[in-house]
């Protein structure tokens, strides 16, 4: 077994605007968590990038690490046998205002 982090990159404006699209998105996340509860090891939604603080070379600045239209807005940690299985789960992750990135978790022994 291996663990993968599914990173959700989306246009924050979509969620902030609320309305039926965002409501449907929230519902979809609940359904996703129910459907894949057996492989989910964790996950969270993040506050918007306007709340982010970046530290580079010890210098603290306001704002996210990189200014992009689609920002990291949340993640799921999942467990899977291989990439194919991880991708099958990741395809179900709702990301109505963007997409997701799947990254294998490094293991040290």
């Amino acid at each position: 077994m291996a663990q993968y982090l599914v990173l959700l990159y989306e246009d924050e404006a979509g969620w902030q605007a609320g309305g039926p699209a965002a409501e449907a998105g929230l519902k979809a996340h609940k359904e996703f968590a129910q459907k894949h509860g057996d492989v989910l090891r964790g996950g969270n939604a993040l506050q918007p990038t306007s709340t982010a603080t970046t530290i580079r070379d010890g210098v603290v600045t306001d704002g996210p690490f990189a200014e992009t239209k689609e920002a990291l807005g949340g993640f799921y940690l999942i467990e899977a046998d291989d990439l194919d299985q991880a991708l099958a789960v990741a395809k179900d992750v709702p990301a109505p205002f963007g997409g997701v990135e799947v990254r294998p978790i490094m293991t040290f022994d």
Partner: protein
């Protein structure tokens, strides 16, 4: 070349993928498997001087696997901590040399790898080309290609891309990914993007070998049959595409008596089979169009209406500006250059075709046929700017010079 060397070269061409795929099962590491298989071929050069074994692939696999086991024992602690995910073979497998080529195919052509990496891995691991040869095929420095291959292999191990044939539910779209790689190899070889010769026979032959292998391993797949048919029917014209003086010869001018009849017969039979699948796939339809040309006794007797009808089906199945362009050309041949020119007109606004020399060339040809020399001149000049293949450039320059 000695008999042994010839037999080794032959086995390299025919059996590389099978031997490597069976060795990967033991090593669970692509690099070590490659090393051991290369070593087995080197040993065969000497060992086979006393006689070539009855089953060269079995000999090579045994030799490569023995070396692999030695290596694994010697350096048990040094080996990669990320072994490939090899699923056990189905129980009751009779042969000690399983045909794992399909696993290797699906690993090399995994959609999580960049297309250029998939193509490079396919040439390296399935066709057995050296890294230098793969680099030459794609006109990049050898160090660049070596880095590309290393990066792809690292991703296979680190992201755990499995070494297995996908389950039936995933198979159709995974087969499409594999066919896309073989198709890229073929089109790259059929008309080289740049350089002095029109065709790159080495790449065409590799694409044909791969398509034949897939046909053998997936005999019921209509898309595989369609792609093999497309390659056979298109490449059947290889001897006639360029004149003795190196000039590009259009379909219209080609000596059809010199088209490869056995390739056409085989291709046409495959098209019939592929078209029985409903709805027919993209490659089957493209092959059907090539089959109409292959079976027409002459350019004048070509059934352009049938070709337009096939392009209509292809357009539904696989909408793309390039299909629209080819369809417009066929419309012009069926109904005259004025209608063809009108069909090309909306394509000028397609961003995907903005740097596509064939659009300008097609427009130039219709304008020339209509006697609109000034406009034709501009269109030929535009096509020349967008074309880097020397043979094609010469053709366009001659047409330009021939305008009244």
């Amino acid at each position: 070349m000695s008999a042994a060397a010839a037999a080794v070269a032959d086995a390299h061409r025919r059996e590389w993928a099978r031997v490597l795929a069976a060795t990967v099962r033991v090593t669970r590491d692509l690099d070590l498997a490659e090393e051991c298989v290369q070593d087995a071929y080197a040993r065969a050069l000497t060992a086979w001087q006393d006689g070539v074994p009855a089953n060269p692939a079995a000999w090579l696999t045994t030799t490569a696997r023995r070396r692999a086991l030695d290596e694994l024992r010697r350096s048990a602690t040094l080996r990669s901590k990320l072994p490939l995910l090899v699923e056990p073979a189905p129980a009751g497998e009779p042969s000690p040399f399983p045909d794992d080529r399909l696993r290797l195919v699906f690993t090399c052509c995994h959609p999580a790898l960049a297309m250029e990496a998939q193509v490079a891995l396919t040439l390296r691991l399935l066709c057995g080309l050296t890294t230098a040869d793969v680099a030459r095929a794609f006109l990049v420095p050898e160090t660049t290609m070596a880095a590309r291959l290393t990066r792809a292999k690292k991703k296979i191990a680190a992201a755990r891309i499995p070494y297995r044939v996908p389950p039936p539910s995933e198979l159709p779209h995974r087969v499409h990914a594999v066919l896309a790689v073989v198709h890229v190899l073929f089109t790259t070889g059929h008309t080289a993007a740049t350089g002095p010769s029109l065709r790159r026979p080495d790449l065409v032959e590799r694409a044909l070998d791969l398509a034949r292998m897939l046909r053998l391993l997936l005999p019921a797949d209509a898309d595989v049959a369609g792609l093999l048919a497309l390659i056979l029917l298109t490449d059947a014209r290889r001897e006639t595409r360029v004149g003795p003086d190196g000039r590009l010869l259009l379909l219209e001018e080609q000596d059809r008596a010199r088209w490869d009849r056995s390739a056409i017969t085989e291709g046409v039979a495959l098209v019939r089979e592929a078209l029985r699948h409903r709805p027919p796939g993209r490659f089957a339809l493209q092959a059907a169009i090539a089959a109409v040309h292959a079976e027409a006794p002459s350019w004048r007797e070509t059934d352009w209406r049938e070709i337009v009808a096939l392009y209509d089906l292809l357009r539904d199945r696989w909408p793309s500006p390039v299909v629209e362009l080819n369809r417009a050309v066929a419309v012009g041949l069926a109904e005259g250059p004025a209608v063809g020119l009108a069909a090309l007109e909306p394509l000028g606004r397609e961003p995907q075709l903005a740097r596509y020399g064939y659009l300008a060339a097609a427009r130039a040809d219709f304008l020339r046929r209509l006697g609109r020399a000034e406009e034709a001149r501009l269109a030929y000049q535009e096509a020349l700017v967008l074309t880097d293949n020397d043979v094609e450039r010469r053709f366009l320059a001659e047409r330009l010079a021939g305008l009244a």
